[in-house]
């Protein structure tokens, strides 16, 4: 049986609209026009034990709403949902003991105390036996090399150190499923790399099923063999991550800085995004990138060049367009 099973999951939020200005505020006192917003719509998802699944999508796509329904924080408006055989929104402790959730923008650490204090609180909350707790803590802090700041006040830790402690806290009770909502948001590249290595190790060593949402391509690409792309609350892709990027990440974004003022014309098949006498930003087809860059370097004197993967939002838009013929 699958660990997570969602069928036709839908979440509709109701919010009210107010006309601008004081008169609009006065009118809203007596009459409010409610508008329905479908944050998640007809979503099917099956996750098997030990999988590492990436949930990808632009802001407002419905990723966080999905995670909140899977963890029972909010109830779905309709559809069927089972996590480890439980209905999450019944908020049963038997289920909560088997999963953990880390939200990049919401801390579960006690800010004025030390991480070790939070760990002890969680030990009691999850009723972790002494031996298991010591073993788990040693393993996790060792993986992160984070022993040095266990006894420091949380508020004095850097963002990266805090996120490491968040993950240790979440994994102390060895959950079967780990939900991660933007765990690397705002972190610098070395901290992101450390967290990725840690998560990979946890997934491999402990067999923890992990569901990850992230804006960073690199998170999903290096960690998740399977990706689920969400756009406008709907599932627009569910399959292999490499296949996804091969199929849809068809262009690279190139930024070149010229040594002097240059009248630059983008080569064929390139799309110019931004241009000034000293700089140009354009996209080039991935399969022709080598030849085109060689040509540009031959024709112009460059002081700098940077090449980036296509933005995650662009990839999602392409899939969405292909699926529905519409724009996001």
């Amino acid at each position: 049986m699958a660990l997570i099973e969602a069928k036709n999951l839908t979440k509709v939020y109701k919010r009210f609209e107010k006309e601008p200005g004081l008169w609009g505020s006065v009118k809203s006192l007596f009459h409010r026009r409610l508008v329905e917003k479908e944050a998640v719509s007809g979503f099917d998802l099956t996750v098997e034990r030990g999988e590492f699944v990436g949930l990808i999508g632009p802001n407002g796509a419905g990723k966080t709403t999905l995670i909140k329904m899977l963890t029972g924080i909010i109830p779905p408006t309709s559809g069927a949902l089972s996590v480890l055989g439980f209905t999450p929104n019944k908020l049963q402790n038997e289920l909560k003991r088997q999963y953990a959730v880390v939200m990049g923008q919401k801390s579960q650490l006690m800010f004025d105390l030390t991480p070790a204090d939070t760990f002890l609180l969680f030990k009691r909350m999850y009723e972790i036996p002494d031996d298991e707790y010591r073993h788990s803590l040693a393993l996790l802090t060792d993986l992160f090399g984070a022993g040095a700041y266990l006894n420091m006040q949380v508020r004095t830790l850097s963002l990266g150190e805090r996120m490491k402690m968040e993950l240790v806290t979440a994994l102390l009770h060895d959950p079967k499923v780990l939900f991660l909502d933007e765990p690397t948001i705002g972190l610098d590249a070395p901290a992101q790399r450390q967290i990725r290595a840690f998560l990979k190790e946890v997934n491999t060593r402990r067999g923890t099923t992990i569901l990850l949402t992230s804006h960073y391509m690199e998170d999903v690409r290096s960690l998740c063999p399977r990706s689920v792309v969400v756009g406008g609350g709907r599932k627009v892709y569910d399959g292999g991550t490499e296949a996804l990027f091969d199929a849809y990440q068809t262009h690279k974004k190139v930024t070149v800085q010229f040594e002097g003022e240059t009248a630059f014309t983008a080569p064929d098949a390139c799309a110019l995004l931004e241009q000034s006498p000293h700089k140009a930003v354009f996209t080039i087809p991935k399969e022709r990138s080598g030849a085109i860059l060689e040509q540009i370097m031959r024709e112009h004197s460059l002081s700098d060049i940077s090449i980036e993967e296509e933005d995650i939002g662009v990839v999602v838009e392409k899939i969405y367009r292909q699926e529905t013929g519409a724009r996001l």
Partner: protein
Amino acid sequence: MKKNLKFILLLIKYKLSHMMMFRLSFFGVFFADGTVFLVQLLAFEAIYSRVDSIGGWSRGQMIIFVGTFSIINALNMLIYFFGIVDIPGKIKRGDLDQYLTKPFSPLLRLTFESVNPGSLPLVAASVLIVCYGVSVTGTVVSVSLGLAYAALVLLMTLLWYDMELILRTIPFLVISVNGIMQLEELLIELNFKIPGVLYKGMSKAIFYFILPYGIMSTVPTQLLSGALTLPGLAQALGVVVVFTVFALCFWRFGLRHYQSASS
């Protein structure tokens, strides 16, 4: 039950540890609560020093009444007030997410995670006022009467908790309850000064059964001064049971309507 108690004790320990991280704040809280108490005492002294009887109540009964309200208020601040006062904010900011995903009752955790030991001296001083009131009335307090009074004070503290919880659960359903919170403050202040025996007719129905602030200090005072009838006691116990059951059901209902906040 045992596990819950152990966890509650741990929460209290953490709150104390947290307070001790800030030494000035830790000692300052005793000073602040003590000052509030003194101000209240002086206000009551000014109001009641020249009055011998209000609504048939003797000066001794009035002193017990004031002391009892002060005990209930101090217990409220000592145990749960600072934990549940921010429930509306937590609902609005989506901070309840962290409580709902942990295998421990969110309500118990919210209730006991912010105990305020600064109110302990206030509890002790309020007990002294009640003792003084008892000596003024000349009542002989047996052990069983003392225990019954203590039990009734705890039940009325529970009733105060129920009221605070009910009002702070409303934000699950509406966006802002600032007006209701202000009304709550006014009603508490009013009932801190006026014994429930003064209410008649509609106002009695309101302050005994709908917003039962009127019975909180009145009923224990009546018990201690020998003025409480059996129907009066049964009525008060009934109000506590009904409000406790309603508060818990309303909280569960609210949780089912929690929508978190966008990230």
